[in-house]
Amino acid sequence: MAITGLFLITFLIVHCGINALIFFNDGGESFNKGAEFMGTNPLIRTMEIVLFIGLILHIVKGFSLWKQNNNARPIKYAVQNGAANSKWYSRSMGILGTLLLMFLIIHLRHFWVISRFTDEITSGKETLFNEMKEVFEHLWIVVLYVLAMVSLAYHLMHGFQSAFQTLGLNHKKYTPLIKGVGFWFSIIIPFIFAMMPIAMHFDFIK
């Protein structure tokens, strides 16, 4: 979980960085350039496959971990006060991950399928920026995306620092730093992502 998780975190940085180009508010010019580069560069396209492998491994491993851990306690407690000893999101990684997976299916259907499996964007009929504009016209989709980013924030809040602990990277000097960076990363990245549908919907970006 740790290795694939950290790999997916690096993907989030790239994804967030490219998409943040919409905030230049230049009618999507720089964003469309970025999207075209990501869609055509052979190295990126290869990494896309690696990314999917990483994502699938993360999901499969997460599921088997959930099953194994569920079996480790066949008879549950009548009363268990988890709040007394741990954070709710640390105990809910499976549920948060499942929510994110459901979001990802919708999200991929919105943008990835259009740009890879139809010729709408490659033929120049449509740009990815306009596609974003169109999708985020619906308020319920904006709400869905924002809620998904809340899930992502909590998933990262546990996952970021947990990955380092799993890999044995615990150190008196560096662990507080890792935890601090993890905390802010978990807030800033989902916040930037969440601002995208909001800005599009309310026409802050034209």
């Binding site: 971990l65 851990n69 480790a72 306690r73 008879i75 009548a78 009363v79 268990q80 007394a84 799993t166």
Partner: protein
Amino acid sequence: MSGNMNLTLKVWRQKNTKTNGELVDYKVNEISPDMSFLEMFDVLNEKLITEGKDPIAFDHDCREGICGMCSMHINGRPHGPLQGVTTCQLHMRSFKDGDTIVVEPWRAQAFPVIKDLAVNRSAFDRIIAAGGYVSINTGNAQDANNLPISKDNADEAFAAAACIGCGACVAACKNASAMLFVSAKVSQLSLLPQGQPEKQSRVINMVAQMDAEGFGSCTNTGACEAECPKGISLSNIARMNREFIGAELGSEKY
């Protein structure tokens, strides 16, 4: 006496490993706040015996917080509401008159219930037998100063060795993982020079035994550290992970 309490207990009763158990209600009256939690159980058991009923089986031994025998899951927390104490050191002053207290055994696949609140923790013994030792050839003991140990390492090894193997970490963990226990036992040896020769095989064998016993995996929730009566640190788990990864990659054994 004034200040004495009347309480309702919901206690897990289970005849043996094979039968199903259930929570049974008991009323205990005139409980002194100065009693320990186990003494309150003694009072209840006396009453049950007088009534000709089967007393509640529970583990206990030293009753001073150092043996690791007591193992009650009280109101959803191992060893009850206080931090850094075992059940035997929990006193009734931590509760209020009229409280309902739910008492369950440690719950884990690897800790089958023997009877009522007593669970079989010999899985821990088998993990220790798998590698939690140092092999020392017989002969005269050498001078202690021949083995230089830094104070920091000695302190950290000692802190890890404070683990009494009660199993509260397993009980607290949502995954019933034994990582805090195993990592404490790995750390107390690998931090010292005497533990070095068997360092790689120790971590590999102990982790393999831990998995074979059916404990869950660590997802770093930190519940174990928060509930450990001896304050064993999560940094031990990271150390064990580090050593395990190193041993898996570096060892020439398959």
